[in-house]
């Protein structure tokens, strides 16, 4: 492809990659801490995955296999667009199968198929600061992280309980990393939070517009905030997928007509499709049932 000749491998110049790589190493060494990095202008808009794209570009090698999902699906327009971008600029192999991928870039979901050691999950993050909507000032939130002063968040969650009888946060549900840093899991539904805890894969988070990178090494304790008398409860669905019958997975609600007709189907399209097609011989782990 001619683009590969004009731009460097995976688009970014080597100087930029080194800068991002240095930030990634700090992020891994200080799990949950937001490392500032000199995010570059990318050929896609801010808020559309520039952070994730920069992290992926810095990490990706010629022998990687890349999967890109948005809302759990491989074929949503932005996922298609980002996958194309790396096919063009890096010429890497791509896949829709979670278990075949070495690097997975995601927006808003963690795949249902359990991740394994050696895989890297790259999250696109819009607002990396979990305290931002409680305190708009960076100088202030940075001080709160330094002092491990997370009282604001506990007060917010407690007010939820006082008003609603339960914590009324369903996505971007804050977590505590290895007992130290409060972290925003990106706007994944809280259903996915338990998958982050002691995950065998390396999880990297990139926020391009806000110029922050953070990380969860494999096997890191990730605890969703809660109270003793109000323990964290992941979202539960009272039905299975209408297409593949899977239960205990995250469902999308699809409106089928204008008379109130609805159906619920897997949000993870790869997971759903692999359950509906016979297993391929060469893809171990395809039929693994999620925890």
């Amino acid at each position: 492809m001619s683009d590969a000749a004009v731009y460097n491998f995976a688009y970014l110049d080597e100087q930029t990659k080194r800068m991002i790589r240095r930030a990634l190493l700090k992020a891994v060494a200080i799990p949950g801490y937001q490392v500032p990095f000199a995010s570059r202008e990318m050929p896609m808009p801010y808020g559309w995955g520039t952070g994730g794209v920069q992290v992926t570009a810095a990490v990706l090698g010629a022998d990687d296999t890349l999967k890109v999902i948005d809302q759990g699906a491989d074929d949503t327009t932005n996922a298609v667009s980002i996958r194309k971008f790396f096919e063009r600029t890096a010429g890497v192999a791509t896949t829709t199968h979670t278990s075949d991928a070495t690097v997975i870039q995601t927006r808003h979901r963690i795949p249902e198929t359990p991740l394994r050691e050696g895989q890297i999950l790259v999250y696109q993050v819009p607002i990396p600061e979990p305290l931002r909507f409680l305190e708009p000032r960076e100088t202030e939130t940075r001080r709160q992280h330094a002092l491990e002063d997370y009282g604001l968040m506990h007060v917010k969650l407690y007010e939820d309980i006082a008003r609603h009888g339960h914590i009324a946060t369903t996505y971007a549900y804050p977590v505590k990393v290895d007992g130290r840093y409060l972290m925003d899991p990106s706007p994944t539904p809280k259903f996915d939070n338990p998958k982050m805890d002691m995950c065998p894969a390396l999880q990297l988070f990139g926020a391009g517009r806000e110029k922050r990178i953070y990380a969860l090494p494999p096997y890191t304790r990730v605890v969703s905030l809660d109270f003793e008398d109000h323990p964290f409860e992941p979202t539960k669905f009272d039905r299975g997928c209408a297409l593949c019958g899977a239960e205990g997975i995250y469902l999308d609600e699809v409106v089928t007509d204008d008379c109130g007709g609805r159906m619920f189907v897997c949000s993870d399209t790869d997971f759903c499709e692999s359950r509906r097609t016979p297993p391929r011989a060469a893809a171990p782990g395809l039929n693994e049932v999620p925890r």
Binding site: N8, F9, E14, Q15, K17, R18, M19, R21, R22, A23, L24, L25, K26, A27, V28, A29, I30, P31, Y33, V35, P36, A58, V59, L60, G61, A62, R142, R143, H145, A146, L147, V177, D178, R180, Y181, M198, L202, L216, P217, P218, Y219, T220, R221
Partner: protein
């Protein structure tokens, strides 16, 4: 010394750098795990190809590198790193982004390298320590990146290194991250690793 005399760096600067970075990322993500790093370059002695490859992959004109006593007298190593990375050589380890240690027995105390600040703990030194041997025995660690516990030790190191490691963790989130390199392998102990204190 003339530029023509500088030993060559990466054969493929893009993909070699990526491969070395992934090895270092893997090492920091799995503290204490020893992994092979095949580096094709031939740096001037006493520099190992592993340690040289790590610096070539990560350092550039936006970073400073401090060379320990074993290297600072050696203009060939300094010239090699300057030529291939463009990094500025730091006169003191206290402010350096990277430190390269080849005589670990005599290295400055971990607490005297840049530790970062409470607000910006990332503004700290990453120390690359060249050792003769590493083994999955000896000290025991737990923490992020370690499924249960991992044993790791390297030699030679300062006599009080166990205490220094415990103190480094106690300063968390401030602190330094350590990358160990033998002639063939690398391993890392990020500041997040907790050492099991034994008598």
């Amino acid at each position: 010394m003339s530029i023509s005399a500088v030993a060559p760096g990466f054969t493929d600067s893009v993909h070699d750098a990526q491969r070395v970075f992934r090895a270092v990322l893997g090492a920091l993500a799995r503290p204490g795990r020893i992994a092979r790093l095949d580096a094709t370059l031939v740096p001037p002695p006493p520099l190992h190809s592993t340690a040289a490859a790590i610096l070539l992959a990560l350092a550039d004109f936006e970073t400073t590198v401090w060379l320990d006593d074993g290297l600072s007298d050696d203009s060939e190593v300094a010239e090699f790193l300057r030529f291939h990375t463009g990094a500025r050589l730091a006169s003191s380890w206290r402010e350096a982004d990277f430190a390269l240690v080849t005589v670990p027995e005599r290295m400055p105390a971990l607490a005297t390298f840049a530790q970062g600040t409470p607000e910006y703990p990332d503004r700290s030194t990453t120390i690359v320590i060249q050792v003769e041997a590493m083994t999955n025995a000896g000290w025991e660690f737990f923490g992020p990146g370690i499924p249960d516990r991992v044993q790791f030790s390297a030699a030679p190191l300062p006599l009080d290194f166990q205490r220094q490691l415990a103190e480094n963790r106690a300063r968390f989130p401030r602190g330094v991250d350590l990358i160990f390199a033998t002639a063939a392998d690398i391993a890392a102990l990020p500041r997040s690793a907790r050492i099991v204190e034994r008598a």
